[in-house]
Symmetry: C2
Subunit: 203 residues, 2 copies
Amino acid sequence: MFSGAQISIYPMSDDFVGVILGALSALDPYRDRLRLETDDISTLMVGPPELLFPAMRDLFVAASRGGVHCVLSAAVSRGCPGEPDDPACAPRDGLGGDDRPLAERIETARQAVMRADHAGCPVAAQFSLYPLGAGHHMDEIYGCIDFVKASGVFERSKNFCTKLRGDAGPVFAAIEEAFLRFGAADGHVALDLTVSANSPTAV
Amino acid sequence: MFSGAQISIYPMSDDFVGVILGALSALDPYRDRLRLETDDISTLMVGPPELLFPAMRDLFVAASRGGVHCVLSAAVSRGCPGEPDDPACAPRDGLGGDDRPLAERIETARQAVMRADHAGCPVAAQFSLYPLGAGHHMDEIYGCIDFVKASGVFERSKNFCTKLRGDAGPVFAAIEEAFLRFGAADGHVALDLTVSANSPTAV
């Protein structure tokens, strides 16, 4: 198993470097379990799937706290057959892929979002789930959409993606559930994510 | 066939709204053949695959021309079985999916990049190709990587994506070739794209 993400934060500000540097300490609680590598386009985050989304959430909330319009963009992946198996990515018991029938996974995912703590940061988000290699990828995508519609943070379906709106806590929890519980449990699954805060054009 | 993209431009500037509005006229030559719909996160672009990448390129080059650090992020898709067939997306003859053997597709793609006009705008980019639903998705991904390595704009392989660097002309041409020529000709293919210009940390 290999899991991780390429993530970027875009603060729409002349002081974008300051905003990013000022938010980095939000990653400190995760540094002993996540490997981070940065270049001029993105930061690679490698680690167990249950840490990726909380780490992204805390970094994004910290960057957005000052009121600057910020966007987080991420390409998240698990189970890619082209990546080496990495013990650092092993999920804790019960937090790996879920191979139960779709209806049970939808209910477990929905309950997880209901339990999520609020972060005090309203966001809009959209994501696309790509279950690769299996024969029934559209069934998994439709099951994931059914879950998101019942998650409490659904805004609307768009072409190529699903849009969410709500507090950063349940929104990131919903995206984590989409990533972990849909697509084959041990399969190759990718997720494309955009999260936005403080947009002047938000409805 | 349905093809299109959800795209966003992020100017790292207090005047991000002005930078975006100032670039929009770059889309004028495409407006009669592309359907555009904007909300607070992204702009949907629906149209034939051979117009999507030139339109994204011209918009991004226009936004970057003033020297502001700008990023374009896009989720591009063709052949999604959940989208309606749309005659407006029909590719011109010879510009649809390509079902020849991998080696021939790699060579055709390479030659297309060599012929691309330069735009006078140096960029870095990274993308992930997701051929969905078929049985041999990694063969298509590896074939696409072989093409990109020979394209003249390859920078390096990264986890989950491939990084390019060069003038916006050949870089966008290489991404278009990756999207059109790899994955099943009539299959469901998604591509996740990030393009960056004027980064203060570019190497």
